[in-house]
Structures are given as C-alpha cells and as structure tokens.
Symmetry: C2
Subunit: 366 residues, 2 copies
Amino acid sequence: MELFRRRYAKCREVMAEKEQDCVVVFPGTNMYYLTGFLEEPLERLLVAILPRSSEPVFIVPELYEKQVKTSTWITDVRAWKDTEDPSKLLNEVLSSLSLIDAKIALDTRMWARFFLMFLKVAPKAVYSDASEVIDGLRAVKSKEEIETMEESASIADRVTKGVIGRCGIGSREKEIASLIELELRKLGVESLPFRPIVASGPNGAFPHHKPGDRRFKRGDCVVLDLGGAYKGYCSDITRTIFIGRCGSKEREVYEVVRQAQQLAFESIAEGVEARRVDGAARAHIADKGYGERFIHRTGHGVGLDVHEAPYIWDGNAQILKAGMTFSVEPGIYLPDRFGVRIEDIVVVEGTKARRLNKVSRELTVV
Amino acid sequence: MELFRRRYAKCREVMAEKEQDCVVVFPGTNMYYLTGFLEEPLERLLVAILPRSSEPVFIVPELYEKQVKTSTWITDVRAWKDTEDPSKLLNEVLSSLSLIDAKIALDTRMWARFFLMFLKVAPKAVYSDASEVIDGLRAVKSKEEIETMEESASIADRVTKGVIGRCGIGSREKEIASLIELELRKLGVESLPFRPIVASGPNGAFPHHKPGDRRFKRGDCVVLDLGGAYKGYCSDITRTIFIGRCGSKEREVYEVVRQAQQLAFESIAEGVEARRVDGAARAHIADKGYGERFIHRTGHGVGLDVHEAPYIWDGNAQILKAGMTFSVEPGIYLPDRFGVRIEDIVVVEGTKARRLNKVSRELTVV
C-alpha cells in the first residue's frame, strides 16, 4: 500500500509542474499503478479522482465497494447503486473537491461515455490527457519492477525457444498460436495483452497479422511475436525463423534487420533522445534500400502495459533515462512475399542498454 | 461484406432519427459490427468515420492499412505514417466530409486521448455517445446471430458441467479458474471477455471476486461464473454449488434466488419494459427479506460484447423485442458469509423467453 501512496506523492509533484489540478484514473494499469486496485475497464462508472491538493476519492459501483476498499490505500470510497445515475455522485465529488472548473487530466484510456459524463457535469473544466502526468513516472522502472520484467522476459524466452522447436513444414499458424498461449499460461502468465502473432510466408508482410489456417511450407519465413503479463509486467519478443531452407533474398533481408536491431541497441544510453534510437535502425535499413519497407516505429515502452512510454519513433525527442524498459524491433515487410522482424526488450543502464531477452538472433532454419 | 454494409444502411436510418451526422467507431465490437474489421483497442489512431449522408472513411496507421483493406467493405482507407501526427489526417477527413461542426456520435469505448484529438480538430462539433445509435441495432439479433449464441451457450454449459464434476473439498479457486479457461479454449472459445469467477465461502459475497488461493471447505457455497467468445459471440453462465453439505441458511437463500430467477424469466415477453424483469426478481427477493443484499441489476445484454444493451435494471423503460439476448442473474450476497447467484442467457421470442443455457438449476451438492 505504501508503494502506491508514494507513487501518488510523486504524481502530485508532476501535477504541480504540469499545472494540473487533478488526475482521474479509469480501471486499467494507470489505476493500478496509483491506487493498487486492478480491474478491467467496465461499463459502470468506476474512477479514482486524485487531486493535487486535497485527498483522493474513489467513485465505485456498489458491487465493487468492498473489493476496492480491500485493495487500495485510498480511504474515501463512495459507492453508487445500480438503480442510481452515477453522474450525480460524480457531480457531488467534483464539487466537494472544488474541481468543477479545474484543470482535469483524464486517463488516456477512459471511455468516451465517461468523458461525456465529465463534460456534462463539469463543462467548464479544462481537460487534458493524463499521460502527460503519469507516463513519465511509469516509464522509469524501480529495481523491483526491473526484476519482475526480467522474470517475465525469461518466460517469453522459454516459450519462444520451445515453440521454435515445434515449428516445421505443415505446422498451421493457428495451432502454433494456441500452443504459444498454452505454454505462456503454463509458466504462470496471468493474461495475454495481445494474441500471439504467427505470420508465415506472405502473411509476414502484415506486421500485426492474425494467425489463420495457413500451413508452413518449405522455404517460408515465419514471424513469431508473443508476450504475456507476469506479476503484472509484460513481455514482448519477436523472432523470425525459416522453414526447411532460407532463400538468398530472405537471408539478405534478415541480416539487414538483424544489423539494424543491433545498431539501434548500441545507440541506447541515458541522455540520448528516443528518436536517435529509431534513427539508428532506420538509417541502416534505408542505406540498404529498404527504407520504404520499414513501416512502423522502432519500439515502444513495456511495463504494466505492453505498449507504453517511451515510444521509440522519429518524432520523439524524449530523453532516455536509466530504468526505462522498451522494445527494439525493426522490421522489413515485402508485400506478397514475406516479412522479417526481430524484437528484444531492453533496459537503459547508464551509458548502454541491456537486453532482457536472451534467445539467439542468429539466422535459424528449422 | 454485404452483411456489414446492410448494417451500416440501417445505422444511417437511426442516425437520421436521432439527428446525428455521423458515427465514429473505434477498434472493438462496434467497429466489427459495422465495418467487418476486428481489432483490439490500440494506442494509434484507428477509426472509421461513418457519415449519414456521404461515403465512409477509415483512418488507419500505415501498418494496418492492408489488413483493414482486406477485411472491410469500406473502400476509402486512408493511412498515416508512424512518423506523422495523425490529427492532420483526421482534420483533412472531417473537413472533406463537412463534419467539422457536425453532430458526431463517438464510440462509447473510444479512449479519452482520441476524444481529445477530436475536440482539438473539431472543437465546435457536438459530441454524443454512439450507443444511442448503435445499441438498439446490436441488441436485436438475427437468426444467424442467435444460432451462434446457442452454440456459444452450449460450450459454456459443457464447461460448467465438467467443472462442477471436478470441484470438491480442497479444490483451490485459482486452479478451478484455470481449468475453466483451459476447457473453454479446448472447445473453441477464441477469447475470454472476463476471467472466470470462482468465489468460495465468504468470497462469494463479492459478486466480482477474483479467484485466489482459498481452498474449498466442507459446507462452502461456491459461485462459478464463466463465459467466452465463440465465433465472436459471448456466453455467460453462473451456477452456485455446495461442497459436501448445504446448511439450512444456504438452502433458504439458494431457493430464494432460484425462484427469483424463474420469476424474472417468466416475466419476459416482447413489449415488456426491461425494468419489469428486474422488478420481478427484486420484488421476490425483497419479500423474502433480502432486498438490501441484492446489490446489482438483474441482467445485461450479451452478444459480441459480454455486457451490452439491453441492461435489465430498475431505471430502464426500454421495450424488449423479439431477438434480444440477455442474462437473467439475480443474486444475494451476505457479507463475510457467502453469496448465491444463478445466471442464464435468454432470448426473447414473442410472448415468452427461451433459455440458451441448459445446465440444471436444482440445488447441487458435490
């Protein structure tokens, strides 16, 4: 409980810097990070109002009241009944905290239906994205958080190695994806923030392909991208393998991606801008003539969410700090042919980064 | 594809009735229902702008471009690059469709970050919740949808029966929950919209208890609540069982809930207000002296989402129509002691309802 309270204290400092009067969190990872209460988004109003200069209040549906009270350090928990309109309680709370025309930073993932409720109750408030306040705090992990990230990465590694051993001519994308899910669960993963990607042959040209009925053929290039949440913290790893043989074009592209990933990795250090890391991968891929075929950013932060700050892209001048954990995952996608992506989670440590994933990045034919 | 286009045509009629100029859908079930493209919410701007009187436009991140194009009937798909600010493209599209100061109905689950982007690009537009337009359409299922709901319910039934057979003294909540997940997956469930609830003894007093390390004891009352999405359509069933023996208080409460569920079921017919169904269950429970311990609504619609319209509660005067599918799930929760809930999915058919779940509701001791 002390942990969550300390985070809120830090959050208040950032609110002061950013001139925000309060942060509102919605069920999901931001709520968990600041209050200790973990729940999926739901269609009933459940929010924590976290002011800069008064005490926080939870607004909860009655059927969550006890659960919230036992999971959070926040003592002021106010419940509304299923037979009531929750906007009344919202109005009472915002009024009592003098937040009716304040600067309110809303959880980036709060649903429109609740944002509309805020707009109705407090139309003169000035709204912004609470990411401005929270993301910087969440991006820098504590020692304990990094240890959990390591455990989580190590589970993803074991599953990746295991599943590569099970791939061969005739394997079906969907079956390999189910196998991945099962193995992640077996090793203690409590939820899958995204379904595993198994993209074979031409399907590999879609970075976020949904596994289908296609069976692997000799010569296929197969992208395997998987991850899960372990003790709340996410893993995310991608390896690209070859079935039976690897053609010369495939080999060339694979090596370009592998080198790009290594160059991006080596560019990481405390004090470097996020976009420099993207630039390191992008420049190499462009040099080799595939600039137009690298159609996404180089990486994203990973922690309680599988996609969070810092985002590693061209336009992000954010300065990397020690303790930040993010993916490094350049890729090349050749429409109607194949795709290659290699991804590791790394942590920034002083003048360099350290990979949390240990699976070989050497070209692998199975 | 024709199916989705027809739904959009109907949606346009409702937009006209409700005086809305356009509907904006966000990745999730509303987007799937109207466009055919199925994806989880993501932090990159991906929306379909569905105007009442001009052609629809998809705004997508470049790495989703091909996938969207192959999954939807909408031909105008405009992509933005990871290196660009997506609000520019949003501005272009809203301007070209003359929607900058229009009446815009936003997907109820659209994230605040994107709502803020709309507010920045089109501050003079009038925003509302697209549920007003879409929910009524989605609530009434077609013959094909009901058939899929039946298949989905039948999977949940098989898993419920199987898992009841595996419960006994010493079973651990978490293990039973994992078993449920595994069995649902084995029978073809593609995703779990909620984690199974296994709430034993005093934990049963929390309607949405998270399974923990508690082991079942002789005399425990255990609430089992589970469901999954099969071919896109959700199941949701709850049974409450007794371990080894059933005490007299437990028996009394169980029978009150069972009768309340039956009375609610019998009150359902085309033309009846949703709140009458809630009232039927609630009046019986209140009569028996447990009114204060029935702390949630009687039910919720089920379909592509596990919680959707129609919501069966006290304040909902919505008229039930043939083809609506929803849960009937009264419960009684005695703090620090136990809880009982019985839930079936039903479909409205003329002058009565039909249960999709067939698992016995008789008091069961294992």
